[in-house]
Symmetry: C2
Subunit: 336 residues, 2 copies
Amino acid sequence: MSKRHVWRLARRPVGDIADGDLVYVEEPVPPIAEGEVHVRVHYLSLDPTNRIWMSDMEQYMPPVGLGEPMRGGVVGRVVGSRHPAFQEGQLVAGLGAWTDLLVSDGTGLQHMPEIPGISIPQAFGTFGVVGPTAYFGLLDIGQPRPGETLVVSAAAGGVGQIVGQIGKLKGCRVIGIAGGPEKCRFIVDELGFDAAIDHRSEDVGAALDRLAPDGVDINFEQVGGPIMSAVVARMRLFGRMPLCGMISTYNATEAAEEPGRWTLILMRRLTIRGFIVTDFAARMPECVQQLASWMLEGRLKTRQDIRPGLDRADQWVKLLYSGGNFGKLLVEVAPD
Amino acid sequence: MSKRHVWRLARRPVGDIADGDLVYVEEPVPPIAEGEVHVRVHYLSLDPTNRIWMSDMEQYMPPVGLGEPMRGGVVGRVVGSRHPAFQEGQLVAGLGAWTDLLVSDGTGLQHMPEIPGISIPQAFGTFGVVGPTAYFGLLDIGQPRPGETLVVSAAAGGVGQIVGQIGKLKGCRVIGIAGGPEKCRFIVDELGFDAAIDHRSEDVGAALDRLAPDGVDINFEQVGGPIMSAVVARMRLFGRMPLCGMISTYNATEAAEEPGRWTLILMRRLTIRGFIVTDFAARMPECVQQLASWMLEGRLKTRQDIRPGLDRADQWVKLLYSGGNFGKLLVEVAPD
């Protein structure tokens, strides 16, 4: 491989990601410098946070610089190494770039154990970001107790489907909010959620009044905006709300909150806590072990939405913001 | 005493409390029924929550019914009892009514220990509501650590002055927000806060940028509205925000939130938790003991704003919403 392909950030999107914000470049592969590792990328993870990294809004790590390779999670095999921690042929995963050949100094890359019975895209798609996000957000912040009612938005997405299944494992009644009948059917029939609300065809508030007449104990919040408002208005006393994402609002330039929202949060003694999965980095082994056990026991299903072709990554990423993906979105760059 | 005086709720206020919302009635004292206790009231506590109780908005206990005695904290002496837990002459305190003679079945009333060196209005004004609110809200929810920056709004009020002093005892840098130069001088010179912001003459955000250039770790929130917005925008990563009150918004019919507020809460991983002091009822003895120790050691000062005359309670209560009180607001009903 003497050439590699890289998506570079050409300009910061205004509103939705537009053609030309990212450019696809063919470049010569540089020789491996001392301390570097080259990784042939098999799968690229596309995540809602990609849009945040493209903008210069306040965020939890520096935004991607203009002209730099677009940041993204990758899994692949080492094809060359002058780095003491990595040997040729090893499977590695971590924060890399939108490329088919990652040139790295090792920062953010880990060895990825291969678990019999769990495929590489399944393991990468689950343990990389979405599984730990669901696990720590729900268990540490949501604190689910048997018999409680859990609502999760973006329920058929990578994080949402795992949140709901862990909620069921912990004895909660789980209501998922998703877009479209196919996703709603999936989370109930395939994943075992108790109920689904299709926010495209139903009034979320009215549906919650019907499905959870006594209110909501935990709102695992991923979208913000009117869907969040409908759930928050129906939270029970001492409810918890892990704030995981605000995908509907990342492009927003205006927002209005209902009057009295903060008074409601006070009166119902809600706990709201924002988090990013990296906050829990030290406990990642515990999480991966538990998720893998549940998967091997058949108690946790994960669905990936695998799209072909690195050269179309700029189109696939848009699916996340239109609700077009169905499960954890991955790009197949080159099969193992 | 064959007559007593009672403030009854005649109609629910719309916006500010208006003359005639409460009516002052002279009534015959009923004979003491079996299981009842009669208490001659010395002091009535006026608290921001009074306005909430008068309205039929969602709240943490039932609103006061129309025609019923207005609810309020009282301290006084038992003047007659057919209740096994209370004897004539005992000092009692708790949730009662705006009256000079409380007729009670004992619900919500406790014996009040008399502590040498702490006067009755000081003990009642501090241990009744505001001290425990400050204590649990700051320590349990705010989780102050030495060197952190704590901001408290309504800083010269009953709760705020104690929050700031406990913050200092815990090693925080404390900035109080108060209205007017006298209150600002008081919290710095008398109570030992590090700095004060006069929200009547200063831009709160600009003052915070100057006084806390590295941001705010804990925002003990009591007022809501633009002051809260200015502080939240300057919260540090992993900041905590005990939600204690929203006094500026209780009468509001409209509210607008800055765009991106929830994204900021997420990105900075803030923890926001609403609470009411009664949530911590089981731990009240621990709290009173600690507060009393600090007071007797001279490490915690409390200021009461004692106004004369039960017949003017409907006017005194308005001070809470105009910022006219200076310290914990009490009405002297009849001296001990």
